[in-house]
């Protein structure tokens, strides 16, 4: 039926014909040119792009294949459909059709022709990539990657696209329709499906996580190969179907039947493979569901605590076998008989021995349930031994995370990187507590009480037996008893233990009896060359950094070692809502990404380049040693201790809570102590955040994009739902963790205010020191506070966590002047604040000083913030007396209805005021200073304000706008993103408003769009009319002076009794606040002010108008 010789002949000549096709030649030339430039620009020393792009050896071939693959699929569709179509004009076909060939020969020959053609193209691209790889001297060359990437990405794609094109054109008998359908399909896969449905529709392998680590290789290679095999098998079916449909009489009738039967077999085979592929995913999903349900059932079940756990683990291939000898204790008030521990469901338990005798147990998913012969009395300790073996199912990790966050790979640059939480492979192992690789006596995430994470300190010992050439890394003092045999004995009890086994090299230094270890994959030492001059100063450097950090944090690093371990690129950790750290931080250990990953501070080449550049600009002289020391310090302070902000810039502002965090802080708090509370599961995390003196990133951009800030978004959600609902319902992770942070911040500020900041903090530090390596129960903590300060924290905790209502602050009359204080001038800032809602609230005030570089930089962490308590309905004047002249004031209303929640305004000229006394502090104002009735203000959100936009928009435009904006529930809009074709509402500190400071804005034009303020004049009289302006174009908060020189006119039309006056104001020269338009006579019930959209600026803003009776 098939003649290989015929296929070869057809392939040979058809590929010759294809190669002579200009369409293909132009495409090939174009893609080769583009990829040459791409490779040079991104990977070669010439381009010197980001380190991460070329750091891992699979990167260059992977990126090239993905790039090529995406483009070649389109070309392939055209060529394949062209080669198979039965061209009536091509009568030369028929002379071949009468040759003794089978239809299979013809179809497969043509397919092979395409394969040969594209194989050559792929080869050329790979050679280019390889050449660039060789020139990128700091990148390892992984020759295997040059074989398996084409095999995994390109090859199945070429085969499948060809087969699908063949089949479609043969069935449809129309090339054009076939092409349109195929291109449409590709579009749908790329845009709509992406990585959905477990990547199954993604035959182009565009989103398939194929990035391979140099440490652990591919993640899930089985699934990847299966995925590609599915498409090869389906391609087989399509080819066979094409043979059946081929418009030529078959050699023998039975041939057609045979191909039909084989088509069905291949289709069945594909279905089978799909089933195998999905089975794991579906089973995993089911397992997670079961586990959450079981956790929910067990969440409130009293259980023993494990106080010590000795693990004896053997690692071989993809399995471990382990014996866990534990001491368990009943810390409950009642006796216990029914007990449970958890263990990864893929680990089968061989034996459970309680107090020396084997017990029966039942296994439910990850639960091991058993009953003791005699009850364990409160306080009693018993021994428990479990022997288990098997693999690890990764699906047990992060039960609280679901949907795209959990399933979608990390996409960065052109790489799709799988999210892996566990590795258990013949030559690489990474196990954290999330993998449930050792018995734990508490259940994880569930819906009944999501926050029941136990925080318990255990006396661990770990003995590891693995392959001789592998290094094991864990916590505690290490005894390397024999090659491949390691014994770890942590000096202190730990809440968790981790195990990493791999082909690691090590660099160590001991400073002040603490071992600092760096473990890196043998081939991945890209860093040593940059620090060759630090040998003799490293110890001092490390000591200084450590001492500085401990001083800044006011806490001690109490472990005997600190280790940085390079983890495979796929290793990923989510932020747990109830913990303030990710699995990248283990006790004594930080798991850094492979070759530094995307951490800019670990891109040493760029760091040095930037530093050389900087020193040149600043005319500094710095020797190599200083530079090396600086780069090292920079890494430690930005990444490990977070004493300074990383250089990386987050467009989303300060709420990039999903990002990887490698700060060691958990080792100062979480892994040393903690407050355990079932009632207030967030308290421990909030306390940790409070104690963590990290440099804060400010949230700047959100308002410009979305109209309100992230915090305001969170505040708004907190007014709709109580915290419990927010936590248990499926809100966005960012918002939930933002809210937890806001609540925590508010709670601790509140406690600070009640107890006194210094006293409270030093009390906390003392508590931590006293409870090193153990947890403190909430009740003990509460009692201790009560005893010390005669203050019960519970009502405040309860109030903060449960309160839904929010205060709203009207902040007004911000004034600044210089005053004489004795023999020196000082700077006085005064403002009024009134809490107009029915709940108490707090505001936090900070000043920004000119000494910092950028106006939009967050306040210096060293400049203390001052917190004021504003009870419901109260009005206060708050005064600051400062030694240094600030340029901005930031009034943070914390959790409130205020928009903007942080009023960030430039301060004025600080003119000398001889009359004022130098005063600071708060005074309560009596509420008799009602605004004069003679004043009528129409703000842009008042009923008297209207806008008008003549709608003359093209239909399509309107549709798109409608989709983008109008149907969204969004009230406020960012100036940067929203289409301002009609008037939109935005917010900002400089606008007028009571506690929502907003303005309308629209795109400038010819004056066809107008905003109208219509007052309710109750008394006919002469009125002074003012408009509220932001002054000096400060709409652009970052560059307030940029356009000062330019005249920007707004045209106001005042309608009054004597007619209509047009008044033009240059807003760049206008005052911030009220600007006088003129005095006019208005009769009762008349008058209005109109602003049109004619202006030199891009947008026109309409805020508020004021009428003041003369």
């Amino acid at each position: 039926m098939i003649s290989l010789k015929n296929i070869a002949v057809i392939a040979r000549y058809e590929s010759k014909v294809l190669w002579r096709n200009w369409f293909f030649r132009i495409f090939a030339l174009a893609i080769i040119t583009i990829l040459v430039f791409f490779n040079i620009g991104v990977f070669s020393p010439v381009g010197n792009n980001r380190w991460f792009h070329r750091a891992i050896s699979s990167g260059i071939p992977y990126a090239n294949m993905v790039f090529l693959n995406l483009v070649q699929v389109a070309v392939l569709i055209f060529l394949a459909s062209g080669i198979i179509k039965n061209n009536k004009k091509l009568d030369t076909n028929e002379v071949f059709y009468v040759r003794p060939l089978s239809n299979a020969d013809l179809v497969l020959g043509k397919a092979l022709a395409l394969l040969i053609l594209f194989f050559r193209l792929n080869l050329v691209i790979l050679v280019i990539a390889l050449i660039v790889n060789v020139t990128a001297t700091d990148t390892n060359i992984n020759f295997q990657a040059y074989i398996y990437y084409p095999l995994l990405i390109s090859f199945p794609n070429i085969i499948f696209t060809t087969s699908l094109s063949f089949l479609l054109v043969s069935v449809l008998r129309n090339q054009a329709i076939g092409i349109i359908f195929l291109l449409g399909l590709v579009g749908v896969i790329l845009i709509y499906f992406q990585g959905n449905y477990y990547f199954l529709p993604d035959y182009i392998a565009f989103k398939l996580p194929l990035y391979a680590s140099d440490i652990a290789g591919f993640s899930n290679l089985n699934q990847l190969v299966l995925h590609r095999t599915i498409y090869l098998c389906l391609a087989g079916a399509f080819f066979l179907a094409t043979i059946s449909f081929f418009p030529r009489l078959p050699q023998r009738k039975v041939n057609r039947l045979a191909s039909a039967i084989l088509t069905i077999l291949f289709l069945l085979g594909t279905t089978g493979l799909v089933w195998v592929y999905l089975e794991k995913e579906i089973n995993d999903k089911a397992l997670r569901k079961t586990m959450i349900a079981l956790n929910g059932e067990m969440a409130e079940t009293p259980n023993i605590d494990i106080t010590s756990c000795y693990l004896d683990l053997n690692h071989s291939e993809n399995t471990i076998s382990c014996g866990a000898r534990m001491i368990v204790q009943n810390n409950q008030v009642h006796q216990l008989k029914k007990l449970f521990v958890t263990l990864n469901p893929e680990l089968s338990v061989n034996k459970l021995i309680f107090e020396g005798s084997a017990l029966n147990f039942t296994r439910k998913s990850h639960l091991i349930l058993f009953e003791t012969p005699v009850p364990i009395l409160p306080g009693e300790k018993k021994s428990l031994e479990i022997q288990y073996e098997g693999g690890i199912n990764e699906a047990v990790c992060y039960l609280d995370i679901h949907g795209d966050r959990y399933e979608k790979p990390r996409a960065t640059f052109m790489y799709n990187i799988d999210k892996r939480f566990v590795f258990l492979e013949p030559d690489y192992v990474l196990l954290t507590k999330d993998a449930l690789w050792y018995p734990q006596a508490w259940v994880g995430y569930n819906k009944t009480s999501p926050g029941t994470g136990n925080h318990n300190f255990i006396d661990f010992r770990l003995k590891v037996n693995t392959r001789e050439n592998l290094t094991a890394i864990s916590q505690g003092k290490l005894m390397n008893e024999a090659p491949g045999v390691y014994a770890f004995s942590p000096e202190v009890p730990l809440p968790q233990i981790s195990l990493i086994i791999g082909d690691y090299g090590q660099k160590s230094i001991t400073v002040d009896s603490t071992d600092f270890n760096l473990f890196f994959h043998e081939k991945n030492d890209y860093f040593s060359e940059y620090f060759d001059q630090l040998q003799d100063t490293l110890a001092t450097l490390v000591r200084d950094l450590r001492n500085g950090y401990e001083q800044d944090q006011n806490m001690k690093y109490n472990f005997s070692r600190f280790q940085l371990v390079e983890a495979p690129v796929q290793f990923y950790a989510f932020t747990n809502l109830y913990e303030n750290h990710q699995a990248y931080i283990q006790p004594e250990t930080v798991l850094l990404p492979e070759k530094g990953g995307e951490i800019w501070e670990l891109d040493f080449k760029s760091q040095f380049k930037a530093m050389n550049h900087q020193t040149r600009i600043n005319n500094h002289v710095m020797d190599g040693k200083d530079k090396q020391a600086n780069i090292f310090k920079n890494f430690v302070k930005s990444v490990l201790t977070k004493q300074q902000n990383s250089w990386q810039f987050s467009w989303r502002g300060g709420n990039n809570l999903e990002g990887a965090n490698y700060a060691v802080f958990p080792n100062l708090y979480w892994y040393q102590t903690g407050i355990n509370s079932k009632k207030w599961p967030l308290l421990n995390k909030n306390l940790a955040d409070y104690l963590n003196q990290e440099a804060q990133v400010d949230d700047n951009m959100s308002r410009n994009w979305r109209g309100i800030s992230f915090t305001e978004d969170c505040n708004s959600l907190m007014r709709e739902k109580n915290l419990e609902d927010i936590l248990s319902q499926e809100e966005s992770f960012d918002k939930v963790s933002g809210i937890i942070k806001l609540k925590g911040d508010y709670l601790l500020k509140h406690l600070e205010l009640q107890i006194g900041k210094e006293a409270f903090k030093s009390f906390l530090y003392q508590m931590i020191a006293e409870h090193a390596h153990q947890t403190l129960s909430y009740d003990d903590f509460r009692t201790a506070v009560l005893r010390r300060f005669q203050f019960d924290i519970e009502p405040i905790i309860d109030q903060v966590y449960s309160q839904v209502e929010q205060p709203a602050f009207i902040i007004s009359d911000i004034s600044d002047y210089q005053v004489r204080d004795g023999d020196r001038n000082r700077f006085q800032v005064v403002f009024r604040v009134e809490n107009v809602e029915d709940v108490d609230g707090m505001i936090k005030v900070q000043f920004h000083y000119n000494r910092q570089s950028a106006a939009f930089a967050p306040p210096d962490i060293n400049d203390e913030a001052s917190v004021s308590f504003i009870p419901k309905g109260q009005k206060k004047a708050i005064r600051f007396l400062l030694d240094e002249r600030p340029d901005r004031i930031m009034i943070n209303t914390l959790i409130s209805r205020n928009i903007p929640s942080v009023i960030n305004l430039p301060l004025g000229q600080f003119e000398m005021n001889q009359k004022q006394q130098p005063l600071s502090g708060e005074i309560i104002l009596l509420n008799n200073e009602e605004a004069a009735i003679t004043e009528i203000i129409v703000d842009n959100e008042d009923p008297g304000f209207t806008t008008f936009t003549p709608i003359r928009e093209p239909y399509l435009r309107k549709m798109i706008l409608k989709r983008n904006n109008e149907n969204s529930p969004q009230k406020y809009h960012g100036e940067w993103r929203s289409s301002a074709s009609h008037w939109r509402l935005t917010t900002g500190a400089a606008y007028y408003g009571k506690y929502v400071r907003s303005a309308h804005f629209t795109r400038s034009g010819k004056g066809e769009k107008i905003a109208t303020w219509q007052p309710e004049i109750k008394e006919s009289a002469y009125y002074d009319v003012y408009v509220h302006l932001t002054g000096g174009n400060s709409n652009n908060a970052f560059f307030p002076n940029r356009r000062k020189q330019q005249i920007v006119n707004y045209n106001y039309y005042v309608f009054h009794d004597d007619g209509e006056d047009e008044i033009t104001i240059d807003i760049n020269r206008a005052e911030r606040g009220w600007n006088f338009l003129g005095s006019f006579y208005f009769s009762q019930g008349t008058g209005k002010v109109i602003l049109d959209n004619k202006s030199e600026n891009r947008s026109v803003f309409a805020d508020a108008v004021k009428w003041v009776k003369q």
């Binding site: 015929n6 014909v17 030369t92 002379v95 071949f96 009468v98 040759r99 003794p100 050699q251 009738k253």
Partner: protein, 296 residues
């Protein structure tokens, strides 16, 4: 070689009946298939070269059923379709080599020799490296003949073989076929050009509206018309008159008059001479008298 066609019918899906109860036996040697457009020649040929299925009847080639032994039969075939102008981007020799490889017998050396010989035989050796689609119409035709012959077929089916060939090429082509017909090869020529058949074929069939109107030697057809072909010399007036009366086969202007040939039982006057008929006369006569198809 012997092709037997029994009660062959072909009805297209649109209801058009292309062939109806065709019975023919074709032996080795040249066989001419004559008939007006739409008579079913192309359908019959495409069926014979296994490009099309027939609706009913039976065809055997050397006793092999064409439907059951397509593979075997295809090894015997050489085919040149009527339109042979559009090529994919292959050089002349490559095209021929491609065809030679697919007919699948020779080793590389033999094949290359055969290709060269064939190119020389059809006078394309000089242009062997030119792209096939850049050849002139006649050259393309010759290349078509070459590819049909390269497989050394036992059954050669040629649709309108000499269209586009100049007289010299036509003669060369006839000679190639004549050489071939000496061997045990069936050569089926389908044509409008009666001359092609008369000069080469020993047997022929005349198809009309899907049926075999005549089957036999060309001489038999010519015999029918013997004594009915007249040559006359006429002036314009007479020419107009005679055109109405008799089928005029040929018209040659001569010294202000016309020398014409007409078909008639008897022609009185005009110095009419009864001349020896040829196949063309026989064809027209047959169509007029037997099938009632008027010439004009």
């Amino acid at each position: 070689m012997r092709i037997e066609i029994e009660s062959l019918s072909k009805v297209y899906p649109n209801g058009h009946r292309a062939l109806s109860d065709v019975n023919l036996t074709i032996e080795s040697g040249m066989f001419g298939l004559l008939g007006p457009n739409g008579a079913g020649k192309s359908s019959l040929m495409r069926i014979l070269v296994t490009l099309q299925e027939y609706t009913s009847g039976k065809i055997t080639i050397d006793g092999l059923d064409i439907n059951k032994h397509r593979k075997k039969i295809r090894t015997l075939l050489g085919y040149l379709p009527q339109d042979f102008t559009y090529f994919s981007k292959l050089k002349t020799w490559e095209f021929l080599d491609y065809a030679a490889r697919l007919s699948g017998k020779k080793r590389t050396k033999d094949r290359m020799n055969a290709v060269s010989t064939m190119l020389e035989q059809v006078g394309l050796f000089q242009v062997r490296n030119r792209m096939a689609n850049k050849l002139s119409g006649g050259m393309k035709r010759r290349l078509g003949i070459a590819q049909a012959l390269i497989a050394e077929p036992k059954m050669l089916v040629i649709d309108e073989p000499t269209t586009g060939l100049d007289p010299e090429e036509r003669i060369r082509f006839r000679n190639i076929l004549s050489d071939l017909s000496q061997k045990d090869v069936v050569i089926i020529l389908s044509t409008h050009i009666v001359g092609d058949i008369s000069s080469t074929c020993h047997n022929m069939a005349l198809l009309h509206q899907g049926t075999v109107a005549f089957d036999g030697a060309p001489e038999a057809l010519i015999k029918n018309v013997k004594g009915h072909v007249w040559q006359l010399q006429v002036n314009d007036q007479e020419f107009s008159f005679l055109k109405e009366k008799y089928p005029v086969i040929s018209t040659i202007p001569s010294q202000g008059k016309w020398e014409i040939q007409v078909l008639a039982e008897n022609v009185e006057g005009y110095h009419a001479i009864n001349i020896e008929p040829n196949l063309e006369h026989a064809y027209v006569y047959f169509m007029e008298n037997n099938l009632n198809v008027p010439l004009m």
